[in-house]
Point group: D2
Chain length 339, copies 4
């Protein structure tokens, strides 16, 4: 018996869509059954590589084809909600490019609709399918770090200024989705500050702080105007600590057996003595996998009921909630926004 290969149409062929198309086309779990973009030239350019695959500038036309069982949406974020709704209503499974939607209300509405229709709704949190994040999840899941004290991420470079979203909506979803995936605890509040130096009010630098019950703090620095590319996350636990440096070619994850031991001592008065623990460092071997390829295959297996989603609509919603709160905090002078 051969597995049924899921028929996937790709909607939106700008920067990311062609990658999705390529990975769908070469997957053993999927078939590329449709290509759709409003821009005729772009559509033709991409479609030329997939002779025989239906191409159309019209979503409704795409959805008329029963071979399109699922749709991967890679359009600008403002259109995610409307297009995903259309696809779900037409009975199609949906994989949406991150960030999932422009508001939590929209995300909730899509989740509700997918559930009602019995369809799969997933979000393209690509990083969670990389070898590095898969290994990070594995390490975190063992509990060997102890209690998580902080998560600190820096994602900066001389980046493409987006015209529709600020740097928070553009870059932070990467780190927020990774954190959402590997951390068990969920944030309770968001504070953010940012500056828009160019581009009519779209922030190009921002700092986001999350609070969790139990004292964990998370912080994200996103910046489109840095002279060097930095992709570093520090994760501090009571027992071990991790540096995840995505700019490293090979040793992306380093696990440090370092920390402090706290001893309450009495010397005149009681006071807290902090002792250092300096141990070995360990860099686990990371499998070299093509993340998008893994994700596309995983999506097909989720649709077939063989797998539980790594990045389901609920994960997409949690990320959007933080983005929405961060934006509101920035508008209100860095006020702490409860989640």
């Amino acid at each position: 018996m051969t597995t049924h290969r899921l028929g996937v149409g790709v909607l939106g062929l700008g920067y990311w869509g062609p990658n999705l198309a390529k990975n769908v086309a070469t997957s053993k779990e999927c078939r590329l059954t449709g290509l759709c973009d409003r821009d005729a030239a772009r559509l033709e350019h991409v479609a030329a590589e997939y002779p025989g695959v239906r191409q159309t500038r019209d979503v409704d036309d795409l959805l008329r084809d029963p071979a399109v069982e699922a749709v991967a949406i890679a359009t600008p974020v403002d259109s995610h909600y409307g297009l995903a709704r259309t696809c779900l209503e037409a009975g199609r499974h949906v994989l949406i490019e991150k960030p999932m939607t422009r508001s939590a209300a929209e995300a909730e509405s899509l989740i509700e609709l997918a559930e009602r229709k019995g369809l799969t709704l997933m979000v393209d949190h690509t990083f969670n399918y990389t070898g590095a994040v898969t290994k990070l999840k594995e390490i975190m899941a063992t509990g060997s770090l102890g209690d998580i004290l902080y998560w600190d991420s820096v994602r900066v470079n001389l980046g493409l200024f987006q015209h529709d979203v600020n740097v928070v909506w553009d870059l932070a979803p990467h780190d927020l989705s990774i954190m959402d995936y590997v951390l068990d605890v969920k944030p309770t509040s968001v504070q953010a500050t940012g500056v828009a130096h160019y581009s009519d009010g779209l922030e190009n630098i921002a700092y986001i702080t999350l609070r969790f019950t139990g004292g964990t703090i998370a912080h994200f620095h996103v910046n489109w105007l840095a002279p060097v590319k930095i992709r570093t996350t520090l994760i501090g636990g009571t027992k071990k600590m991790i540096v995840f440096d995505d700019m490293e070619t090979v040793e992306k994850l380093k696990v440090y057996d370092k920390g402090v031991n706290v001893v309450k001592e009495r010397e005149g008065i009681y006071y807290t003595l902090v002792q250092y623990r300096m141990g070995d460092m360990f860099a686990p071997h990371i499998q070299n996998v093509e993340a998008l390829s893994r994700e596309v295959a995983h999506f097909a297996r989720v649709v077939r009921g063989e797998d539980r989603p790594i990045s389901g609509g609920d994960a997409g919603l949690r990320v959007v909630r933080i983005l929405e709160a961060a934006e509101r905090s920035m508008r209100e002078g860095g006020k702490e926004i409860r989640l």
Copy 2:
């Protein structure tokens, strides 16, 4: 004619005081004329290296000696104000370890007193005497970076937990004093968040954001609980950008001829076009100087009226104002505090 060598007494012989003593003793501009610490064992231990230098456990005793023309104070920060006041009232020039005082009011009071008495009051912002910061100041002073868009600093490591101050008062003075020295514009507001995971309420991780008129933003990450030592400052200008990595042995400063050009264009509607500029990188040769030795000699020259202070009481006050506001912001849930 030989230059008069300034007679300096060192008050406080804990971690930093012995360094001051050594640099005073070996300076061509100073003489070490007194050593003072309340702890008898510590005093004896340090004094053993300087036979013939007056040693005492009592400040008043130190100040009775006319050979002590100036006092370098390296005691815990809570005692800075009282001791500096005593020294100034006794007619002595004063060099205070950073941070200058525990409050801006205290710093202002010392400045006023020193002025009234016609005495030199300086703060030990050691970094501003290093080869790297001297070169950084030189580059910034040329204006070649254009308008400064942001200053982003990270100073983290598995550090000594202090018992009297939190990580903000411990680590941030380094970066705040460097920024105060090389940036012409001064901040208008402060926001800070932090967490105290150990040690009865002293924050061990903190994030500080400064706002300036004109859209410049500055951000500081200080952390005593990081598995690796990071000392990196990114400075973004409209024309050039700098990475100052103090962990580099040689190439501490890198100047990037990179940035964006903004062009207002019309395509249907007006919109802002951001174009990249990718140019060469340049790492200036940095002189290998002993910062504290330079500082001590500079202090003597300032006392003699031959130099204007690089880190005078006013600089110390500006740093303390920010620290004080940061602390208040942390207590008030990250509220923006006007300076």
Copy 3:
């Protein structure tokens, strides 16, 4: 008038051939007019991407097609000579994968044949078409380094053990061809040592030393068994020095204004005083170009007489001469072999 696009057939579709095919197919200066490999499965697999392009398992068949005006040969090195000869005799221009041939005699014979036939013969020294080496050549050509004292290259990693050639023939052509391209002086002798730890006599580690008139020395370390990937070349001149680190993502070339000044002084007896010169470092911006794409276009322009070859048969021959001498030196216990 439109430029004639050179019709190129690709011969040998193993590891490198498909890259050549892709770059020929997408070049504005060429057309892919034939694909040839003895292995039917491999041929079919590659040909599937180029519908309409003639495919054949037989060289003679390939050469019967007048649309194949030139042949890019990417077969195992032992077959280079025979196949190139066949192509040239059939009146085709030839681009041969490096190393050009197994012996200098073979290379000389091909050069002579191409000249006699008035055909272009080039060698695929790909590195010389990268942005980094192009910039390196540019810097070296200004003479700003002064006299070249040494060239030291390390190319090691956990690499693919070849079955037909040792590590010298596999890795050294990269560095030898770069050096041949950017250095004006040519070596006069070769010494080499190596060890074959596995694989029936094929060396997996080797060290090669070249001597030049005038005291320049060059040294190459090639190793298939290193735990980390290193690609570093140090070039020392009397005035400046360069570090070319190909593992760097961006700053691949660093030019140091460092060196020594030699002064003959007299102090009792005459002696040589060496003084240090420590200056700035400069990392030129490097264009991000696809080397193979540039090379393929350049090949077409050379065939049309519009360009002089960057990596002609003569360059291929010079590299092969060194490889041949290195191999002989290894066989003779590291004896110095005159070139």
Copy 4:
């Protein structure tokens, strides 16, 4: 009962001598009982820091003092033999700066003399007392690397040109002594090439190759004229591999669980199949110890018969034998010299 502290005189107060003096003076196992240098100014300058310690410009005078039980010799290498002989003949234990002597014959003669007199003779191979090399020795001693295939070391920088020795005698002793300490097998032959660009015939760049029975190869690159400082040793074993990077502040040793597995297979003919093994990396915590302080204390314990020498005269001799052979090989055009 208190341990007798060994009375040590330091002979030669140039660059290294004062370090020896300081570590002897602060050691719990030694006492500094004498300082000797022919240069009056230098002697006075150093002696000023050790009031009460006998100072003299004459070796015989130094040796007349029974409080000088042992002598640490830090004079130019040419004088090592004569001075060490004088000290041993006067019944003093000796610690000689590396390289031990100018010839193997001299080293053998000193060893024989020390044995006959029942005195301790050690060589100052400082690196073997560092935390990093101590840990390296520990790892190597477990045998976890399998058979050692190669040792590759690079020690280059813009270094001090010596007036009395070439770069081989100046820099290679560091790496040769480390290798001698941690590798069980001993080399059987030496080949070396080098160039003297300045300084009347003293080589400033050199490459040394050692052969061992069993196929192990070792290679050393030493260079006084490099724009950057590199201190990297690669050690390849059949089971694991190590990178020892002494320029790293913390993670100086990295142990890689990487390598190749060789399987003899038959496919038509028999051939060797090499399979990769890519595993985790591990960086052991390295103790932060002052090497010279450890060495001086160890020397005292060896003299008292409580310890066996880590760097005895035999180790010094083995290093000198290689240096001597390397020099001879350079003079004879890179000829392989049997040890």
